[in-house]
């Protein structure tokens, strides 16, 4: 292979023992990640995280999950978990990383060598930033009902429709989108996976302000937007299969105990500051939650061990997402209750002799139960595919 991807790795990571590997990662994060960006109360924008991620790109650390030959760190499952754990532990804010998390794996599995050469190097250098164009105003949980049309015109597809809730589309240069290419086929069978350059006529990105006052997701209007037919990933009308192959990864990641563990530290800080730490009623609630998190960690470790052994995750992993996100919500709700009148003050607030952002965890906890397949949808899947209960 003459074409080179990314920068060479300084070490053979997988040859290191876990402790040494963790140490190296930790030193890099702790030394170089900007302190003021740790545990950000919201998704950071590219202009805020840019310096850090360009540094990661220069080090060749931007795609820890990709294989070496494509410019990734080539980490084994266990090393990858350590990398993610350390990033979470240090509270490193994500950029719009759908390029490394999703596009890369999709192209490696379904893309042509041509597509990989065309797109992967720019993901590695952060020259291109990708967003995920799946949801539409009329297609949320029922994603297969999406209506954005892609019509073949000569060597191009011409795309018209609207995407919504597109995270950080205002930072993105490209979108991978699910589009309808056969309006007459059964819902799932007329969908294609297309790569779209957003820097062109007909693309309008409009940020949506959320109830916390932040602008993290967007509407993206596509009006006769063109993309070459060579940007079709996988076969025509097989986009649903391509998109579905990414789901397992998300569910274990969102099932990590780190967020609720962080929530517990906020809860403790608020309770101590308000003199409620020794209140028996509070303690009862606190330790019930602490055990909820401890048992989440017990279950999570079971699933990560499966990944490390290189085995396939079953559908049952969905329950981790439910338990992790709802436990985090219960913790965040108790933070609000414990904070009393301080819950009515925005941002970092002085409580007793501590400073905490009371509302950050409350808002942060609201959306993980909605995205990535809402918790109700996860329950449907578990009931029918794991518990083998009949469909209606």
């Amino acid at each position: 292979m003459s074409f080179r991807y990314g920068v060479p790795q300084e070490r053979d990571w997988n040859a290191l023992d876990d402790v040494e590997f963790r140490r190296i990662i930790r030193v890099e994060f702790e030394t170089n990640y900007p302190t003021e960006l740790r545990y950000a109360p919201r998704r950071l924008r590219w202009h805020e995280t840019k310096d850090w991620y360009l540094r990661m790109a220069r080090k060749g650390w931007i795609a820890p999950n990709w294989p070496l030959e494509y410019g990734g760190m080539g980490l084994s499952a266990s090393k990858l978990l350590i990398f993610q754990e350390e990033a979470e532990r240090w509270g490193i804010g994500r950029y719009q990383d759908h390029g490394t998390l999703m596009l890369g794996p999709v192209l490696l599995r379904w893309g042509t060598e041509e597509q990989r050469r065309r797109y992967l190097p720019d993901v590695l250098s952060c020259k291109s930033i990708w967003c995920q164009g799946y949801s539409e105003p009329g297609a949320g949980s029922d994603l297969a009902g999406l209506k954005t049309r892609a019509v073949r015109d000569g060597n191009d597809f011409v795309i018209t429709g609207q995407k919504i809730w597109t995270t950080l589309a205002h930072d993105a240069t490209h979108m991978f989108a699910l589009t309808r290419t056969d309006p007459d086929a059964k819902k799932q069978e007329g969908i294609s996976f297309l790569l779209v350059d957003l820097a062109q006529k007909g693309v309008t990105v409009r940020p949506i302000r959320d109830m916390a006052g932040h602008e993290e997701f967007c509407e993206v209007f596509l009006d006769e937007v063109r993309t070459p037919a060579s940007n079709l990933v996988g076969e025509l009308n097989k986009g649903w299969t391509v998109a579905k192959s990414l789901l397992g990864f998300e569910r274990i990641h969102v099932g990590s105990p780190k967020m609720p563990e962080y929530g517990l530290t906020v809860l403790e800080a608020v309770a101590r500051a308000r003199g409620m730490w020794d209140d028996p009623l509070f303690r009862e609630k606190y330790y019930a939650l602490k055990l909820d998190v401890a048992h989440l960690a017990d279950a999570y470790n079971h699933f990560t061990a499966i990944v490390i052994r290189g085995e396939q995750l079953g559908q049952d992993v969905s329950y981790l997402k439910i338990w992790a996100t709802e436990t985090f919500q219960r913790i965040a709700d108790l933070v609000l209750e414990t904070a009393g009148p301080f819950a009515a003050i925005n941002g970092t607030v002085q409580v007793g002799n501590t400073s905490v952002d009371v509302l950050a965890s409350f808002y942060k906890a609201r959306t993980p139960t909605i995205y990535g397949g809402s918790n109700e949808i996860q329950r449907n899947i578990l009931a029918q595919q794991v518990l083998d209960l009949p469909r209606r």
Partner: protein, 375 residues
């Protein structure tokens, strides 16, 4: 249910399989022993001994198998699935472990073989009558008098109520001791208290009962720690038994949801019920993993406070999940679920006992908190 199983080594897998083959759910047998002393079948007990299960925690040097807690938990889980009334955890693990730890070699040689063969049943009397979980506060007093010891006070929640010998934890001016007293000496002070599963525990009240000093199994400051560690291990294995019970109760419920028809469809197709079933499944999984984590911690040498922490972690989840699944199982069955005739009730009633004994969910959450605080 198609949840991923927790990996285990070959010995454990063999033991689990043979326990699953041996311990079959037998509704008639369970019903037969309800309310009938001693509440379980001594023939089955001896068969269990024959399987080696009563020897699991006893070191090989003492004639045991020295297999460790993972093996004990694997067996207990299968006994739970079969809703066995035999008091495996209390009389089959806790007591042999304590007998093996006895510093009185002569007594140990005399008693341990009978305990391991199942020929003699032993009960441990350790818990204060107020139900506290701290053996140190036991309200049984002992004093030494002319080569004998004299016991006065009370213990409660003793399981099984009817045994051949009782190990009594008592406190003297120079610290605790554990003494073995035969059933005929104990019986006059014993009141049986029957429980929801038709099985009984005992309330023991003694005043000036005289026992020879030769009956002391161990004495001194270390005794409380030894008993507490044995209890913590028992709590973890009991959590495994509860896991077996709840898993079976959940399976019964899911089966029922697939077959019971109302409004022309299986009730399991109603989304409200599907989502509730998933929440029960999640609790079941959490209980399994909390228990497995506790077992692993013990296998890796957790002692003292670390042992108590994992025991409370496992039991707090098991008791909570077990009762939740039990009560929801009744609801999801409708009226049939509340009948004596339907087997679910056997599981629910046994669950109530196990959830309540050796500390319930709230007590273990509190203990977990207190132990964490002290850190």
């Amino acid at each position: 249910m198609t949840a991923h199983s927790i990996p285990e080594n070959e010995t454990i897998a063999l033991l689990r399989n043979s326990a699953a083959g041996f311990a079959r759910f037998d509704s008639r047998r369970i019903r037969d022993w309800r309310g009938r002393s001693p509440g379980f079948d001594r023939v089955v007990w001896q068969q269990m001994a024959g399987q080696g299960w009563l020897s699991i925690l006893v070191p090989e040097a003492d004639g045991g198998l020295g297999l460790g807690i993972e093996a004990a938990a694997a067996v207990a889980e299968q006994l739970g699935r079969a809703c066995y009334p035999e008091p495996f955890v209390m009389a089959g693990l806790l007591v042999p472990g304590l007998l093996a730890a006895s510093t009185n070699q002569a007594l140990k040689r005399a008693l341990l073989p009978a305990a391991l063969s199942g020929d003699a049943i032993f009960s441990l009397a350790w818990q204060p009558a107020d139900g506290s979980l701290k053996p140190a506060t036991s309200a049984m007093r002992a004093s030494r008098r002319n080569g004998s010891i004299v016991l006065s006070g009370e213990c409660r929640f003793i399981v099984p109520a009817q045994a051949d010998h009782y190990l009594v934890l008592a406190h003297t001016a120079d610290g605790p001791l554990l003494v073995c007293v035969d059933a005929d000496r104990i019986r006059p002070g014993l009141i049986e208290e029957s429980g929801p599963d038709g099985f009984s525990s005992a309330w023991l009240r003694l005043s000036d009962l005289v026992a020879p000093e030769a009956a002391i199994l161990m004495s001194g400051v270390g005794v409380t720690d030894t008993v507490e560690a044995a209890l913590d291990q028992a709590i973890i294995v009991q959590s495994a038994e509860i896991c077996g019970l709840m898993q079976r109760a959940l399976e019964l419920t899911l089966d029922y949801m697939r077959t019971r028809q109302q409004f022309g469809v299986a009730i399991g197709s109603f989304q409200a019920l599907q989502h509730r079933a998933v929440d029960l499944f999640i609790q079941n999984e959490l209980a399994r993993h909390a228990k497995a984590a506790a077992v692993r911690a013990v296998e890796h040498g957790a002692q003292g406070k670390a042992l108590s922490l994992v025991a409370s972690s496992a039991k707090s989840r098991a008791a909570h999940a077990g009762l939740l699944i039990s009560t929801q199982a009744i609801q999801l069955h409708g009226a049939i679920g509340f009948t004596d005739e339907y087997d679910l009730g056997l599981y629910v009633n046994r669950m109530i006992r196990l959830a309540a004994s050796l500390g319930n969910a709230a007590e273990h959450r509190r203990r977990f908190g207190d132990l964490s605080e002290g850190a």
